[in-house]
C-alpha cells in the first residue's frame, strides 16, 4: 500500500517561499517520474525535467498534462543543454 506523502505540501511550500516560480524557466535535475514536477509546473513559465532513468521519464511524460513541461534523458554531470538559459535549477532529492 502506497503511503500518503507530504499531504501538507511542505516541500512545495518551501520551494515557493524561497523562490517564486511565476514566468520562470525551470530545470529540474533528477526529476525522476515527475511526481514533484507535477506539483509546481502550472506555476512556472516553463519546466524541463532531466533524469538518467528512462523508465521514470516514461512515467513523467505519460502523467504530464501541460504543454509547458517537457522531459529529457541526461546526466547531471554533462547536461545536454545550452548555457545561461534557466532562471531556476532545482535539485529535489537528487543532489
Amino acid at each position: 500500500m502506497k503511503p500518503i506523502r507530504d499531504p501538507e505540501r511542505a516541500e512545495l511550500n518551501h520551494l515557493l517561499a524561497a523562490c517564486p516560480l511565476e514566468h520562470q524557466t525551470v530545470l529540474e535535475i533528477g526529476c525522476g517520474d515527475g511526481t514533484f514536477t507535477r506539483q509546481y509546473v502550472r506555476m512556472t513559465g516553463k519546466v524541463l525535467g532531466i533524469d538518467p532513468a528512462m523508465i521514470d521519464l516514461v512515467v513523467a511524460k505519460k502523467k504530464n498534462r501541460v504543454k509547458k513541461a517537457s522531459f529529457i534523458q541526461g546526466e547531471a554531470e554533462c547536461l545536454p543543454l545550452p548555457s545561461r538559459v534557466f532562471d531556476i535549477v532545482l535539485f529535489a532529492s537528487s543532489l
Binding site: 500500500m1 506523502r5 511542505a10 516541500e11 524561497a18 547536461l79 543543454l81 545561461r84 532562471d87 535549477v89
Partner: protein, 143 residues
Amino acid sequence: MVHALKEAWRVMAPLGIMMDIRPLSIDSPLEVISDEVREFAGIVDMSPDLKYDIAADQAIETVIKEGFFIEKQVDEFEYVYYWKTFHGMMADFEERWKDEIIIPEDVINKAQQLYKVSRPNGRLRFGMRMKSAKYEKKIKSHQ
C-alpha cells in the same frame, strides 16, 4: 557532485537561482496518530545515508568556495508520510528504504502495539527532516 553543480551553474541565467531540497539523515520520529491521540512509537535511525549528506554538503561548500554560487537561504522542514496499515508501512519501508534507514525492533513492536488499539482514522506517521537551500549564481569574470 561538484561536476553536477558546475553544470547547473553553466546552464543558469545570470543571477539565476539554484534550489537544493533533500532529506537529511537526522533520526526521525515514528508515531501512531488518530483523530483523538498522537502517540510516540520511537525514533528511526537515518544514519546509513549520512555519507551522502556529507558528500552533498561538501560539494556545495566547494562550489561556493570556488566562487560559483552565493548561499542565500538555508531552511529545514518536516516531510511527512502516513500509512493506513502497519503492514503497508513495513512493506513500504522494505521496498523504499531497505538500506537507508534502520527501524529498531523495539520501535517496530511499539508501533504495532499502538496501532492495534482501534481508533477513529488511526494511521502511522513518519516525519523526516528535509533541507531547503537557496543559492544565487555568482557571475564569474570570464562569463
